[in-house]
């Protein structure tokens, strides 16, 4: 495999119209001559699991925060013996990652005692620490909600003077922004407090199973560990609950105009039943509908409570299914019984009670750590990010009001560290009582940047760059991104081979044939017809309602633990994830054969 290389990041031509693209990102996040030697010999893969689209300048913030925080826990907190962090770059707006290993075996060895002590503490006290984490994250979200953003007043309120406060609104506004980014970084520090260790324990169980049963399917291991009733499914469950209530109260007719949620609410508000339903909605909405329609990493991802047309449309569909007699409930008892059966039968295959004791111990630890792995996503990417995006928009609104922006979302076309400059401009002009430069400077600059981003959006990032690794061993890379030696080999082969099967992860078993529906965002979910095969870059939890209608899922990115894999296993649908080229090769309407047991997708006819 080392004979062939992916393109060098330095050899890829700039997309037309994006010549000045490096202006949009931090100088430390782009490829440059200054680190060329290091960057060219490394292996980079595009992280389409989290960042499948081009980043706007401010949206790069969470990319940088996330990867630096992940790395920090590997390198500085837990001292993971063979793995340093993951290096990251932005190329033409797209996120690329490069796992950094510890090359010297002696150094790996020397890191072990520290790892044992540090990680050991977390494993030994996991439940307490996780309970504490849940407190911390709720506290953090509370702090985010408390960030107060208000336009600058013409005069400071009198009490500022009479109480002798000594500071003014301009400074408070700048502090508020700093608070937003500080809380955002804190959020990402919390995010990785448990995740790397959770994966490590999972991988240990995984390794045990592969040793005991060399041919065991990966998904059997996932099924033994997976929780049955996890927060990931909760927003969808809440929608089903509200749909049932709507049908029970005979209100589901109102959702015919789901695309005009205010009209729905007005109609509901006119009756006792309707008001009862709205009260139930409010109860579900906080926190469960702080739910992003995408990965949660883009300001453009729509959040359910802010875009009620999305959940209302789901409620309309669910109500229709209920009227047709469909049982929407996930069969929890059945899923639980099946999980128990799988565990019991594998255990029976082991040769001795000692083996079974080891099996149970490792399964036990994997199950202790797994709720974090499954649940953190809701708290971080959905709930917390929803609040942070909202606060940023409030700030954008203030700047728009002062003429800096045409619209509130323009704030996301400023780099993280440019926002204080714009605020300073606004503040100091307000302080002085003279014009600020911003209203002349930013609208022009933002227009220019929007054109660049739109050029970047048209560009299609290669799945990987640089020198392919001999073998992929970095555990988190495999777990999180589904990148294995095989998938890397597949990409190398795939770039010049337009015929034959697509290969990916055998993420959820079964074989079906059906018509493809290629969609790129949840906004296109309405196009999907019953019984089609969903082909998408990836899926996110907010796509959940689609899984009742499709036959199978094919994604470009993601591994055994990706959202599509987890949900398809739950729904009993075949899934092939991490095909890299699915949305590029497959066209809507083509007849496909999806083999989720072997990880292949075949185009049968056009």
């Amino acid at each position: 495999m080392s004979e062939r290389r992916f393109p060098s990041p330095f050899d890829i031509p700039v997309p037309d119209g994006a010549e000045d693209w490096t202006d949009l990102y931090s100088y430390s996040s782009v490829f440059s001559e200054d680190r060329r030697e290091h960057e060219e010999q490394a292996f980079w893969f595009q992280d389409g699991v989290h960042w499948p689209m081009a980043l706007t300048p401010w949206d790069a913030t969470f990319f940088e925060y996330a990867i630096a925080s992940l790395s920090q826990y590997n390198t500085r907190h837990y001292v993971i013996p063979p793995a340093m962090g993951i290096d990251y770059r932005i190329l033409y707006g797209y996120a690329y990652l490069s796992p950094v290993g510890v090359a010297d075996p002696a150094e790996v060895e020397s890191r072990i005692p520290e790892f044992m002590e540090r990680a050991g503490h977390y494993f030994a006290n996991w439940d307490d620490l996780y309970a504490n984490w849940l407190e911390k994250i709720r506290g953090l979200i509370h702090d985010m909600e408390l960030v107060h953003i208000e336009p600058l007043p013409d005069r400071e309120p009198l009490e500022v003077v009479t109480e002798g406060r000594g500071t003014g609104s301009g400074m408070a506004l700048m502090e508020a922004y700093h608070r937003i980014v500080d809380l955002g970084l804190k959020l990402w520090q919390y995010h990785f407090e448990f995740l790397n260790l959770g994966y490590a324990a999972y991988l240990d169980f995984f390794g045990f199973c592969k040793q005991a049963w060399p041919n065991i399917p990966d998904l059997a291991i996932a099924k033994m560990v997976a929780g049955v009733d996890v927060d990931l499914f909760r927003p969808d469950d809440e929608l089903k609950k509200l749909s049932r209530l709507a049908v029970e109260l005979d209100l589901d007719g109102h959702f015919a105009s789901a695309d005009r949620p205010d009209a729905v609410d007005e109609a509901l508000g006119a009756s006792d039943e309707g008001r009862r339903w709205l009260a139930a909605w409010s109860e579900s909405a906080e926190p469960w509908f702080n739910f992003s329609s995408g990965s949660g990493f883009y300001h453009s991802d729509q959040i359910w409570i802010e875009h009620r047309e999305i959940p209302y449309a789901f409620i309309r569909n669910y109500s229709k299914m209920l009227r047709e007699g469909t049982d929407l409930a996930r069969p929890l008892e059945k899923i639980r019984a099946e999980r128990d059966r799988i565990v019991t039968e594998y255990a029976e295959l082991l040769p001795s009670d000692e083996d079974r004791a080891t099996f149970e111990q490792k399964l036990g630890l994997a199950r202790v750590v797994f709720p974090y792995v499954e649940n953190h996503n809701f708290y971080v990417e959905h709930w917390s990010h929803s609040v942070l995006w909202r606060k940023m928009r409030e700030l954008g609104r203030v700047l728009a009001k002062e003429g800096f922006f045409a619209e509130e979302d323009d704030i996301f076309f400023l780099k993280r560290n440019e926002v204080p400059e714009a605020l300073w401009d606004m503040y100091s002009a307000w302080a002085v009582g003279a014009p600020s430069r911003g209203p002349a400077y930013w609208p022009r600059e933002i227009d220019r940047r929007k054109q660049i981003v739109s050029a970047l959006e048209k560009w299609s990032p290669p799945p990987a760059l640089g020198a392919p690794p001999e073998v992929v061993t970095e555990p988190f890379t495999i777990m999180l991104w589904g990148i294995t030696s095989e998938s890397v080999a597949g990409w190398l082969g795939g770039s010049d081979d337009d015929s034959g099967d697509l290969k990916g992860m055998a993420a959820s078993p079964g074989v079906v044939e059906g018509l493809a529906r290629v969609i790129f965002s949840p906004a296109e979910i309405d196009q999907v017809q019953d019984g089609e095969i969903l082909v998408a870059p990836l899926t996110a939890p907010s796509w959940a309602p689609i899984f009742g209608r499709i036959q199978a899922t094919v994604t470009d990115v993601g591994g055994m633990m990706s959202h599509a894999a987890i949900v398809c296993r739950e729904y009993g649908l075949p899934a092939v994830t991490g095909t890299a080229f699915g949305t590029k090769r497959i066209k809507t309407g083509q007849r496909l054969r999806v083999d989720g047991s072997n990880g292949t997708v075949t185009v049968l006819e056009d």
Binding site: I80, P81, P82, A83, V108, I112, F115, M116, A119, G120, F123, A200, A201, L203, D204, F206, G207, F208, K210, Q211, A212, W213, P214, N215, I216, P217, D218, L219, A220, K223, I342, E345, Y346, L349, L350, P351, S352, E354, D355, A357, T358, F359, Q361, K362, V471, V472, T473, P475, I478, T484, S485, E486, S487, M505, A506, P509, V511, S597, N598, G599
Partner: protein, 357 residues
């Protein structure tokens, strides 16, 4: 009083009327190891022969003090008794039960003249341990209800073949102590057939069923004359974890002169000999045999052409696997705490092979 008992409806209390072979076929079918379908013509049907005074007297007078070493006379006695049995009257209900049984089997196979094997299954209340192995007759490729009836009678009469008479005499079993049940069982006409092991013969992995499969009768696979398609199936999830389809050059199939070897020239040569549902059914059947017998099994199986899709995967034979079963299964237990194991996991390149498939 039932003259016909289907293998699929076998219950332990039938055993006395069925004889060893039929009881075993019934037990296997009911336990989820479907042998080729069929039914037993019970000893209740044979009773009309056994209790026939003319035959009872003949048995007594001809065999009462018979010296089996008198070979010259043995042939004549055997012939006389067999003729008596084959021409003895039996009630119409008995004959109709057999005809109805055959008709039902024919309907199941969508073939009014479905070929069956008619096999003897002798039993004796007085001699529970007697095996009678090979003493009585079996008739293959019997077609049509009247031919079946006629062969049932010949199985009955095979109690009086020369070797059966000699055997009883030698074992000092009374000649009227044995009764005859008869199995009427579909002849297998395999679309595909082969063997299955309830472990992976390459690495001893007991979580897998390994299947070798090729077109036609199983001889080609058993004798190693073709490179069969090879599948691995997980025993718990029944997922196909490996599939390798080979080019299959020959198949054994039924021709003018019985089963013959023919070259495969059409596109079937490169095609998988089993579909996914069949692969899983073979795996389930093998796993059931393993659970039933309590140790790893080596089974022969076939997918029948005539039977409906949900009932066409048949077990032909199951015996203990002998290679891996003799070795101890290596322990995977770890000593010490989980941290050492987690470190080993993180530092080993195991995950290079983590993708399933």
């Amino acid at each position: 009083m039932s003259y016909v008992v289907w293998f699929a409806e076998f219950q332990p209390e039938h055993a006395g009327q069925l004889g060893g072979k039929c009881a075993s076929l019934g037990t296997m079918t009911v336990a989820g190891m479907p042998v080729p379908p069929g039914f037993a013509v019970t000893t209740d049907a044979y009773r009309f022969v056994h209790a026939n005074p003319e035959i009872a007297n003949a048995v007594h007078s001809l065999l009462g003090s018979f010296d089996p070493s008198n070979l010259g006379k043995l042939a004549a006695v055997s012939l006389e008794l067999r003729n008596l049995v084959e021409s003895a009257p039996v009630p119409t209900e008995v004959e109709d039960s057999v005809r109805e049984g055959y008709a039902a089997l024919a309907e199941m196979c969508s073939d009014p003249r479905v070929p069956v094997a008619v096999r003897s299954s002798a039993t004796s209340e007085d001699l529970p341990d007697a095996s009678f192995a090979g003493e009585h007759e079996t008739y293959l490729w019997v077609q049509g209800p009247e031919a079946v009836l006629s062969m049932v009678r010949r199985c009955w009469s095979s109690l009086f073949t020369e070797r059966a008479i000699a055997y009883r005499a030698q074992m000092k079993y009374p000649h009227d102590s044995v009764q005859m049940c008869v199995a009427v069982q579909k002849m297998v006409r395999p679309k595909a057939a082969g063997v299955a092991f309830t472990l992976n013969p390459r690495d001893g992995d007991r979580s897998q069923v390994a299947i070798d499969s090729s077109w036609g009768f199983g001889e080609a696979v058993v004798a190693g004359e073709v490179t069969p398609d090879n599948y691995l199936v997980d025993k718990v999830l029944y997922e196909i974890t490996k599939r390798q389809v080979s080019s299959k050059e020959y198949e054994y199939r039924l021709g003018e002169n019985g089963v013959e070897r023919v070259a495969i020239v059409d596109e079937r040569r490169e095609q998988p000999s089993l579909d996914d549902a069949e692969i899983k059914a073979v795996a389930r059947l093998a796993r059931t045999a393993e659970k039933h017998y309590g140790c790893p099994q080596d089974v022969e199986w076939a997918v029948d052409l005539d039977l409906p899709d949900d009932a066409n995967v048949l077990l032909l034979q199951s015996r203990p696997e002998t290679v891996w079963s003799r070795r101890p299964v290596p322990s995977v237990a770890t000593q010490g705490d989980y941290m050492a194991s987690i470190v080993a996991t993180l530092t080993s390149p195991l995950h290079a092979q983590s993708k399933s498939g």
